[in-house]
């Protein structure tokens, strides 16, 4: 009996030695993610550390629950409030359920922002979107135009006809299409975010539009299916595939030449920007107000709208020069 008690004591004390508390620095910024062990967020943490190194007087607490639950994040938030951190930058698992806990954090003088996945406006000072609809709409056509100096026919392979995000992006794209002379959008088809249907729709585009120069797919399922269809047709390099995709899924198609470039957010930049914004707000060097600007270090400044949302930057373009650095991340 006594022996076992001693053992447990030893185990607890031993465990405690291993986790000696980190040294207090001037400002502690907590980067709270949906769950630990996700490549996208690990990359964001890398960006946060980069910002901390640049700022010098910042300690990053990278934390989150083990599974993507709101309850888990609330426990994390409570322990951060208890530690009296200076700022919390969170990618939320639930936009409503975290509000009471984050309100409490703000009541106790902690700067709270959300990034990537937002919290309802009353639960944070500002929200950082990785990009904006108009920037995305512009980028997807720009990537096609950059590789088509003489212009040509392009087609859009979207998700479902009712997909809100995709429809907004395509609308935004059509608004700026005049800036890219010679680019004609000849068709918009819907693959419903299903691999096989997207693949057949891409095949259909190629057979019905023999002069097709590019397929733009603003969905990660569609872009992979289109690249595969183009490759299988033996037209890799002839018909360009671009749009929004994940580096891990697109790496092979960039290697084969089916896709020269595609875009998506850069998680490293996102973590970096979230840290910079938290720092500036907590230091009082900026305030979150409508139409206000907050500095983001090397990324410039973010401008907030009426609901305190801001867009970080253009979607980040991935091509053969950087795909290998990102394909293992997400």
């Amino acid at each position: 009996m006594r022996k076992t008690t001693t053992l447990i004591t030893a185990a607890i004390l031993g465990g405690s030695m291993a986790m000696s508390s980190a040294q207090a620095e001037e400002m502690r910024i907590a980067l709270v993610v949906k769950a630990l062990g996700i490549g996208f967020f690990e990359a964001a943490a890398k960006g946060a550390e980069e910002a901390a190194a640049e700022l010098g007087d910042v300690e990053i607490i990278y934390t989150g629950p083990t599974d993507t639950t709101a309850e888990g994040q609330i426990e994390v938030i409570n322990s951060l409030i208890a530690q009296k951190v200076d700022a919390i930058a969170i990618s939320a698992n639930d936009q409503d359920a975290l509000v009471p806990a984050l309100k409490k954090a703000m009541d106790r003088g902690i700067t709270v922002i959300s990034w990537d996945s937002g919290v309802a406006p009353e639960g944070r000072m500002m929200h950082l979107n990785p990009s904006s609809n108009s920037l995305i709409g512009n980028m997807i056509v720009k990537m096609a135009a950059d590789h088509l100096p003489d212009g040509g026919d392009v087609a859009v392979l979207s998700a479902s006809a009712t997909a809100t995000n995709q429809n907004i992006w395509i609308d935004e794209m059509n608004k700026v299409i005049g800036d890219y002379p010679g680019i004609n959008v000849v068709a918009t088809v819907y693959g419903d975010d299903l691999s096989d249907k997207s693949y057949r729709e891409a095949q259909g585009l190629m057979s019905s539009h023999p002069d097709l120069k590019a397929i733009i797919s603003p969905t990660s399922v569609g872009i992979v299916a289109a690249a595969q269809a183009v490759t299988d047709e033996g037209k890799a390099g002839e018909i360009l595939v671009t749009g929004l995709g994940l580096p891990s899924e697109m790496a092979a198609h960039v290697d084969s030449g089916a896709s020269k470039s595609f875009a998506i957010w850069n998680p490293i930049d996102l973590g970096y920007a979230a840290t910079m914004i938290s720092y500036n707000l907590a230091k009082g060097e900026a305030t979150a107000s409508a139409d206000g600007e907050i500095g983001m270090g090397r990324l410039g400044a973010v401008t907030l709208d009426d609901s305190m949302d801001g867009a970080m930057s253009d979607p980040f373009v991935y091509d053969s020069s950087n795909i290998n650095d990102f394909k293992d991340i997400f």
Binding site: I8, L36, E71, Q83, D94
Partner: protein
């Protein structure tokens, strides 16, 4: 395993104040020791631990789960188990959210919650106690069923817009740092203590867990007792759902996902025999504090959640193994 059961049969708890009684008594003493150690360790490890407001916030880590754990303890002592508790929370919370859309006020919401919780418990109870199906199978089924209904109703949507007065349960304070949930937790603990240890109903529960056939022959209405236990667990899940929903201010079908395992962990850590027959409310009470302090303490040190799970897992295996090892050692010494 068989060694343990045969030993249980030869030395009935609470009937003969023999060896096993003493082990259980010292067992809780040990757990209390662990709790004190963890407390002292936390005080030492983090300057933020010993702050009344921080400790008050930290109680939310376990109060809701513990309220269900007390009812679960009785179910497990009776030789059954209820794995559907977290799903009952989801269904109750969804029904409350639906009631809000219909314009119900706080007292009505409470009513809806208790009725739905009791109904879920009665459904489990009917299948287990009346139909005689194994509780582990039934409640794994209802685990999917109850949460499934919540998903059908809500999909990827959320209910919010709960009345202001409803926030009192999960966010309110009775006095200074004493939260409403702490008071509820203490009252529930006391009630279950009285029920298990000072009533004939409590003795029937233990008797059933030790030997249902003998209990039946002793005149105990076994199905009735079991049915009541499941309804009770349903009601406690409803109360936890009220607190949690009030704390979150919203409902999503994924609410409280995975809690059933944490609750069972709490019960087993509290010294309740997973095979039924013995256990105390005091033990579960201390176990709730231990788990709350471990998660909060490690959280303060920013230890990743997965390390916390490992720690809780080791703690659990240790406490399950300990009584068995002690018993074997004593047997060896005796022979």
């Amino acid at each position: 395993m068989s060694g343990l059961t045969s030993n249980n049969a030869s030395v009935m708890p609470d009937r003969l104040r023999g060896q096993l009684f003493r082990i259980i008594a010292s067992w809780e003493f040990l757990l209390l020791g662990v709790a004190i150690l963890i407390f002292l360790f936390n005080v030492q490890a983090s300057p933020y631990f010993l702050d009344p407001w921080n400790l008050s916030d930290a109680t939310y880590n376990f109060t809701e789960k513990a309220m269900i754990a007390f009812a679960m303890a009785l179910v497990i002592i009776s030789g059954e188990i209820d794995l559907s508790v977290a799903s009952i929370i989801a269904l109750v919370s969804t029904c409350m959210g639906f009631a809000v859309q219909l314009g119900f006020d706080t007292p009505m919401l409470i009513g809806v919650a208790i009725i739905v919780g009791a109904a879920c418990g009665a459904f489990n109870g009917f299948l287990v106690a009346i139909m005689g199906l194994p509780s582990i199978v039934v409640t794994i089924g209802t685990l999917s069923l109850f949460r499934g209904i919540a998903y059908i109703v809500l999909g990827d949507q959320a209910y919010s817009g709960y009345p202001k007065s409803f926030a009192y349960f999960g966010q309110g304070y009775v006095w200074w740092v004493i939260t409403v949930e702490m008071v509820l937790f203490t009252v529930v603990a006391l009630l279950f203590f009285l029920l298990l240890h000072l009533t004939s109903f409590g003795r029937s529960v233990k008797a059933i867990g030790n030997n249902p056939t003998a209990a039946l022959f002793a005149g105990i209405r076994v199905p009735r007792v079991k049915f009541i236990l499941f309804v009770l667990t349903g009601i406690m899940s409803a109360i936890a759902a009220i607190c949690l929903t009030s704390r979150l201010g919203s409902t999503r079908p994924s609410i409280a996902v995975g809690w059933e395992l944490e609750i069972v962990t709490m019960v087993v850590l509290g010294g309740v025999n997973i095979l039924g027959g013995s256990g105390t409310i005091f033990g579960v009470f201390i176990a709730a504090l231990v788990m709350g302090m471990v998660t909060f303490g490690l959280g303060l040190l920013n230890v990743p959640g997965i390390v916390m799970s490992i720690f809780i897992g080791l703690l659990l295996i240790t406490v399950i193994a300990l009584p068995i090892i002690i018993q074997r050692t004593r047997q060896r010494v005796a022979s």
